[in-house]
Symmetry: C2
Subunit: 221 residues, 2 copies
């Protein structure tokens, strides 16, 4: 039994066997999809809850697992997470090799996280000189957070630091472009964009971005 | 043409077509493998440089790209990175769903990075309450760094914070276990282990670890 957002199930349709049923949900009703998947599994079906990217990174795995944990121990069905490729990784691959040194991911959505916590993480990312992937960077209702993130990161790395904007990754409309942190075109960023900010030693050459494995100050072999 | 560490090429052997050649390298000679792959590509061959995990995360992609960048612009062959599943992701999947909130990766190897930079990142990770994945946590020659990392992270989160130790991921000998940050069995950790430390709201239930999507202080929908 397949449970998932209809558009994702459509993409997988060629792989579906005749004995596998599908249940299409709508994009926003994540909680309900997890509940449906769990209820069917409790009835003895083998259920695949289908998610985009890596369900284990800001994905559906956690919501489903929280519901699974809320069941009485004896009622819990088997539960396995299968990793995938997250937007961070495809953005990195398209741009070159920006994740060769320590990195962090920060979601700029303050729907479930207080903005103060997000600011503290941006400050920590700047202080630690991490390569930073910004998920949920900007939407209609959240239009100032990205500029604030840019400001906080600029406190810890040069304005020339390379930044990747990766939009609609893995789809036909995919667009990947390179910018600088100081010249980031904030207005071009929307909910379908992943923003990847280099660390202080990241550089661009021949249209590709790399973060060297060696960090200044270490003896290179 | 396949270029890679012999053991990895052996694993893929069933997929190799008769017209695809292979060149086996040894584990340590990464620089030479990249050079060989590039030289063959410059001669017009289609070359796959095979790496374990995600070559884009602390992997071979960066070393190869740095060599590619060093070529004269007119001499550079096409260069595409294909993402994979990094140890971080498989460890997370095996443990449950610990990466539902902001996380960072830190390599504890000070071979190419000064230890001062690594300490600064551990402090930043503690200050930002990131879920933390520690790569290269401990080896024969580097036996004190993990205990120091534990100490720095304990400054920012409770001793009861769950920690995953994931060893030999994806192989027959795979072993995944749950511990607390305060009670981390440092001596059990080696080069084949990935250490995944929860944030202050991560919890364990039914043998699985989850980091809730909602962060304390936010209004939950």
């Amino acid at each position: 039994m397949w449970v998932g957002y209809g558009l994702y199930l459509d993409l997988l349709e060629p792989l579906r066997r005749p004995d596998q049923l599908r249940s299409d949900g709508s994009l926003t009703e994540e909680r309900q999809r997890c509940r449906e998947a769990l209820e069917l599994a409790c009835q003895g079906l083998t259920v695949a809850l289908v998610s985009s990217g890596d369900s284990g990174i800001y994905g559906m795995a956690g919501l489903a697992l929280e519901q699974w944990m809320a069941l009485a121990p004896g009622d819990r069905p088997g539960f396995t997470v299968h990793p995938g490729v997250s937007a961070l990784q495809l953005a990195a691959a398209r741009a070159g090799a920006p994740l060769m040194h320590d990195f962090c991911t920060i979601s700029l959505s303050d729907r479930l996280t207080p903005w103060g916590v997000i600011e503290r993480r941006l400050e920590a990312a700047a202080a630690g000189d991490f390569v930073v992937a910004l998920y949920n960077p900007r939407s209609r209702g959240r239009d100032w957070q990205l500029a604030r993130a840019q400001e906080l990161l600029l406190a810890g790395r040069p304005a020339s630091t390379p930044v990747v904007l990766a939009r609609q990754l893995g789809r036909q409309e995919e667009a990947v472009s390179l910018h600088s942190l100081g010249g980031l075109p904030v207005e071009q960023v929307d909910m379908l964009t992943l923003v990847l900010v280099g660390n202080s030693s990241s550089r661009v050459e021949g249209g590709r971005m790399v973060t060297p494995r060696g960090y200044p100050g270490a003896e290179l072999s």
